[in-house]
């Protein structure tokens, strides 16, 4: 393997480890606010993974929406629900051991399956500014889902308003 490949793998390893560690902290931090901040770290890691996959538009969207909007929404919700600041005796419920066991089995199963399947790399090159093509496809092939998205957002917004308003 040439040097570019080694560098690429090193970078990937670093990003993957950071993402997974941040993810792990998200589900283990006792203080929910801290967990929210670790979640932001995970989102950054995932954005970096998108970049390595040459999906630059998606990486930017990940930062803009997940960090700029969804994480902020979560932090607002944390600030609004009082009493979370006291670190409780435990933030993990009673069946956590069973859950961990089941999930470990699940992961092992997925791991083995992923290794068994002979994946074919048929990836063509991504060499130019691909966002205009994305726009065109959104307006032609994926027109219906694109319009339905706005209806979905309208429904979610109205629903959330009705639930949350005083």
């Amino acid at each position: 393997m040439d040097i570019t490949g080694i560098v690429a793998q090193l970078v990937f390893g670093l990003v993957a480890v950071l993402t997974l560690v941040a993810g792990f902290l998200t589900v283990t931090f006792r203080n929910v606010f801290h967990a929210g901040l670790a979640l932001v770290g995970t989102f950054f890691g995932v954005a970096a993974i998108y970049l390595m996959l040459e999906a630059e538009f998606l990486a930017v969207v990940q930062v803009l929406i997940y960090i700029g909007a969804i994480a902020v929404l979560i932090l607002f919700a944390i600030m609004l629900t009082r009493g979370l600041m006291q670190s409780e005796t435990s933030n993990i419920n009673k069946q956590w051991a069973w859950a961990a066991l089941a999930i470990a089995t699940l992961f092992l199963g997925m791991f083995l399956i992923i290794l068994q399947v002979p994946w074919v790399h048929s990836g063509g090159a991504v060499y130019l500014d691909i966002t205009p093509f994305l726009g065109t496809q959104l307006l032609t092939t994926y027109l219906l889902p694109f319009e339905v998205v706005s209806v979905l957002l309208l429904a979610a917004l109205v629903g959330a308003f009705i639930i949350a308003r005083e």
Binding site: T4, I49, L84, S90, Q95, I103, V126, L152, G159, A160
Partner: protein
């Protein structure tokens, strides 16, 4: 440069992230933390979608199904978070708790 990294690596990272998220969703007491676990799972799924787009499609520029799909998943995640957190806030206001173990009125 991308194809220096095998597809399997991405799939394993995504699987691990998914499992971490699942643990968060199953084992956390705080309802907001449960929602965070779900967000992690959705992110893991998105990594898979984009990786399959990049490695599986013979022409990734003119067929960006993976990216479009991931975009819609992000949209759905936002809608889900908005409604889910609104529910948590509403429950908090009426029951004064966000502990999912105490929000069990339907059991009675």
């Amino acid at each position: 440069m991308t194809l220096h990294i095998p597809l399997v690596y991405y799939l394993i990272v995504a699987a691990a992230l998914f499992c971490i998220g699942l643990f968060g969703a199953l084992a956390r007491k705080n309802a907001i933390a449960v929602l965070m676990g779900i967000e992690l799972m959705l992110n893991a799924v998105n990594i898979n979608l984009v990786a399959f787009w990049r490695y599986g499609s013979p022409n990734p520029v003119s067929n960006q199904a993976g990216i479009v799909f991931a975009l819609f998943v992000i949209t759905l995640a936002a809608a889900e978070a908005a409604v889910g957190l609104a529910l948590v806030i509403a429950v908090y206001r009426s029951r004064d708790t966000v502990n999912v173990e105490e929000i069990d009125l339907l059991k009675w």
